[in-house]
């Protein structure tokens, strides 16, 4: 979809918001953005594989994913003449790529060099310039929600993530293992009023209300399950619920998935990383399906705090590295390609002789994406990513 169409669809200003999806459902056709954060630093080189680099096979004697066309079904799936996709994503992500609804941005990431999970995750989620002092109470998705007129934000997590920290009140709810709502409306009102004037008042109102909304989603699921014998599990079930809630009422979402810190026995075409990727891929494909007609208005970005060492370590795993590969998925993106600045992968091009370099800085990538998704002015973009220089990678 062209940017103009998005803007038309966004239409006029929606009134001031609370989380109540009942009152302020997302209008059909307005842009939606979901950030999927892979916590732990996923090993991008074994997922989007640089198969034209002989150094890749040299550096990973025991964990390299076989080249496309070799060792079926374990051979990687060719994306272009340099890159190939992990075979475990054959049924989930490869079809989206073929339909130009998926793209990959190698050498993406942050210039933060701590190589610490926590430091780097926080610094990405804050989205502030690395130099100078940081405001730890201000995350970039919260700032984005502040500049996009009428956008309702939500985190599909147990706790509110750093990227949604801010002055405004952003609701969160985990969609893993939730049951029916426990309180009736009278009880919920008494509980809320008990916190009248308390600094947690808004969180409590939102939390109790959101529980009712998710209760309704689950009722629908139950009805559908009665017709269809297969009930999804794990991340796929979660992703379906995300899809439904975003289809109906939320514009800016966040979800995270852990388990990517593969220091030991990472595996190649199969193994620990592949298993985790399998469930991620299936979930994202299910999400696209669940969004239905709104998939064409949706962009999903998959990011991680850093890449991993290009060479395998002594334990058939990889250690904390630097540059990563980001994914973009969406019904109307300019997909089916590898985007952003590239370099040939050989030993000499590794950063500090160990990692992918960062050639596409995350604030520039996401800033450019948000600009085209919502038609943000440069002044608005500066509020989302202060001091950032958005890159126009023609992503949409």
């Amino acid at each position: 979809m062209k940017r103009r169409v998005f803007l038309q669809l966004l239409g006029s200003t929606v009134p001031a918001l609370t989380v109540s999806g009942q009152l302020f459902a997302a209008p059909p056709g307005s842009p939606r953005f979901l950030l999927v954060f892979l916590r732990g630093g996923y090993d991008c080189a074994n997922v989007v594989i640089p198969y034209s680099s002989s150094y890749y096979y040299e550096a990973r004697p025991s964990i390299a994913v076989p080249k496309p066309g070799s060792q079926e079904p374990d051979g990687a799936i060719s994306l272009d003449s340099d890159w190939a996709l992990a075979p475990v994503l054959r049924a989930s992500i490869a079809p989206l790529y073929a339909e130009r609804q998926a793209l990959f941005i190698p050498f993406a990431g942050t210039d933060d060099l701590s190589r610490s999970h926590f430091e780097t995750q926080d610094s990405i989620e804050l989205g502030q310039p690395l130099q100078g002092s940081h405001d730890l109470r201000s995350g970039f998705l919260a700032r984005l929600a502040g500049v996009v007129n009428g956008a309702t934000p939500i985190a599909f997590t147990d706790a509110l993530p750093v990227c949604f920290r801010g002055d405004s009140d952003i609701p969160n709810i985990s969609l893993k293992g939730v049951g029916k709502p426990v309180f009736d409306s009278r009880q919920a009102a008494i509980l809320s009023e008990m916190y009248a004037g308390h600094h947690l008042q808004r969180e409590i109102e939102d939390g109790l209300e959101l529980r009712q909304e998710v209760g309704r989603v689950m009722e629908q699921e139950m009805k559908e399950a009665n017709r269809d014998a297969i009930t999804p599990k794990g991340f796929e079930l979660e992703a379906r619920r995300v899809g439904r809630l975003m289809r109906e009422q939320y514009h800016i979402g966040f979800i995270d998935i852990g388990g990517w810190d593969t220091h030991v026995n990472e595996g190649a075409a199969r193994g620990a990383l592949a298993n985790n990727m399998d469930s991620l891929g299936k979930g994202l494909a299910a999400l696209a399906q669940e969004l239905g007609g709104e998939w064409r208005n949706t962009v999903v970005a998959v990011v991680s705090e850093f890449g991993r060492t290009f060479r395998e370590n002594g334990n058939k795993g990889t250690d904390h590295g630097h540059g990563s590969v980001y994914w973009l998925l969406g019904g109307s993106i300019n997909g089916g390609r590898i985007a952003g600045e590239q370099t040939r992968i050989e030993r000499a091009s590794l950063f500090q002789d160990r990692d992918y370099p960062v050639l596409n800085e995350y604030r520039a990538i996401l800033g450019g994406l948000f600009a085209s998704l919502w038609g943000l002015s440069s002044e608005q973009l500066q509020r989302v990513f202060p001091g950032g220089a958005p890159l126009d990678l023609q992503l949409i």
């Binding site: 916190y195 388990g259 002594g314």
Partner: protein, 520 residues
């Protein structure tokens, strides 16, 4: 029929389920007060102070506080050597499997079993046996959590119990990594609790050499030529100095070299070593330092050279780390975040750090500085309870001194609230501040748990061996303890909500969900 009777009050047998408010019980409670050990009134500040030093007041805590006064009570908590678990609780713990086998024995067992099962050729048998082994490991991990919960609820050494939790969180390990289900109990009882109020250096050494940590952060795999820097990084970042304290990637790599060869020997069979290495070999339990895996080159850590010498390099490196001013600040701040405020005043952490350096990391001395500070007094009542504090303090209040039979409900509640024991996947431990626990989703979940506790139907009094329960689980909230430590200080909002309750269950729920019981 009195409305203090829970059977009546939950609306099942009572003819008029709208009269639940425990005012009716007030007169009776005051009569009890007059003749009990609760002579005199506790001030709000006394209760709030006890909320910090303990997991929340019980009748026993209040009695002890009254007997000793604040200063001697604190002294006893800082040096709890003489305090003993109540006998029934000690008996329950003694009956657990984890009380009969230490970590080394369990690790040897699980390693042998794994080998045996891997060698099986019958796939069906293999999978049954593997499942049985995993179940056994999970049972041990559950027992480890059970023991921590029982101690948190009933140990009179309440400060030591909080510190044990805090250090388990600071030196966090995850029970689902490798063989750690078999080891977390030993980790808590051998590496952490004995040093909880001791010297920080001993904690670092005890965790560094414990197989649970060696597995969790992969140092068991760290060997000369096969460097794994995972543990070295977290030892600097999370355990001793903190991020941004000035160490570099180079320091991480050098420390990783120092730590090569520090690993695990599950079988207990000593490796065959060259004669020059035999002197340098060390082992204790399942911990092993194997010189054949060590990098004997000279290292430079924080600008100081460390000559190749084997395990003494590790001791030298740890001495260097814990003597850094950054370490004193980092650890002091951690303690102050837990006991005082999410963002503790610099004046407080500075004086704690001074004590830390003067006493070479004597944790009890640093805590004495903390608990005697003006900053602590100024902060009383403002610290949001993390799930562990919320659940434990609530059960202590609701079942004051009455020993629960079953800890599964508490394990489940902690799971639901996102803070299970030994359940943090990442090595940074759970957050200590309100922002980590007070999002909309977390609070609504907490209210649901408050209701579950309030309903008393979680099975706290169903014996774990499956025998029938001998007592009911309905919480007695309008008790002597309630009228001493809670009721006099209730906020107006809480009182209004309690007045609107239409059943005892609602009344209990609102009380447990009130801001009054969610801050300490």
């Amino acid at each position: 029929m009195s409305t203090c009777d829970p059977e009546a009050a939950d609306g099942k047998r009572h003819p008029n389920p709208t009269v639940y408010i425990p005012q009716v019980c007030l007169a009776a409670a005051f009569a009890l007060l007059a003749s009990s050990a609760f002579a005199g009134e506790l001030a709000r500040q006394d209760v709030q102070w006890l909320e910090r030093v303990t997991y929340g007041p019980t009748t026993a805590t209040v009695d002890e506080y009254r007997k000793l006064g604040r200063r001697r009570f604190l002294d006893e908590q800082l040096h709890p050597g003489a305090l003993k678990l109540p006998q029934p609780v000690a008996d329950e713990i003694a009956a657990l499997d984890i009380s009969h086998q230490d970590g080394a024995e369990l690790l040897a067992y699980v390693s042998r079993e794994n080998q045996r099962i891997n060698a099986l050729t019958d796939d069906a048998l293999k999978s049954t046996e593997r499942k049985a082994l995993n179940d056994k490991g999970n049972k041990l991990a559950y027992e480890a959590a059970r023991r921590e919960i029982l101690r948190a609820l009933y140990s009179p050494a309440q400060l030591q119990e909080q510190l044990t939790w805090l250090w388990l969180n600071h030196f966090s390990v995850f029970q689902s990594k490798a063989n750690d289900p078999w080891l977390v109990a030993d980790y808590a009882s051998q590496a952490i609790r004995p040093h909880a109020l001791g010297h920080f250096r001993d904690l670092v050494m005890a965790t560094l050499t414990h197989p649970a940590m060696l597995q969790y952060l992969d140092n068991a795999q760290n060997a000369n030529g096969h460097i794994n820097e995972n543990y070295a990084r977290e030892l600097l970042e999370l355990h001793t100095l903190g991020i941004g304290s000035g160490y570099t990637q180079q320091d991480i790599q050098e420390l990783a070299r120092v730590l090569t060869g520090v690993g695990i020997n599950a079988s207990g069979i000593e490796p065959k070593l060259k004669p020059q290495w035999q002197q340098l070999y060390r082992h204790q339990g399942a911990f092993e330092f194997n010189p054949a895996r060590h990098d004997f080159g000279t290292k430079t850590l924080l600008g100081k050279p460390i000559a190749g010498g084997g395990f003494e390099e590790v001791e030298q490196a740890v001495d260097l780390l814990v003597s850094q001013p950054a370490c004193a600040q980092f650890v002091s701040r951690k303690l102050a975040m837990y006991f005082v405020a999410d963002n503790p005043p610099r004046s407080l952490t500075d004086s704690m750090a001074k004590t830390f350096q003067k006493t070479h990391g004597d944790i009890a001395a640093v805590l004495a500085t903390l608990f005697n500070s003006r900053e602590l007094t100024n902060s009383l009542g403002t610290k949001f309870k993390d799930p562990m504090h919320f659940v434990i303090s609530t059960v202590r209040l609701a079942y004051d001194g009455k020993t629960i039979a079953n800890t599964h409900p508490i394990v489940n509640w902690l799971n639901a609230l996102g803070e299970p024991l030994f359940g943090r996947q990442t090595p940074d431990g759970y957050p200590l501040g309100e922002s980590g626990w007070a999002s909309s989703g977390q609070i609504s979940r907490r209210f649901e748990i408050a209701r579950a506790i309030a309903a008393g139907n979680g099975g706290l009094f169903d014996p774990e061996d499956g025998t029938p329960a001998t007592s009911t689980g309905f919480p007695q909230l309008s008790t002597k303890l309630y009228f001493t430590a809670v009721e006099p200080f209730l906020s107006a909002n809480a009182r209004t909500a309690l007045d609107r309750a239409s059943s005892q269950l609602e009344w209990n729920t609102f009380l447990l969900a009130s801001p009054d019981l969610n801050y300490r």
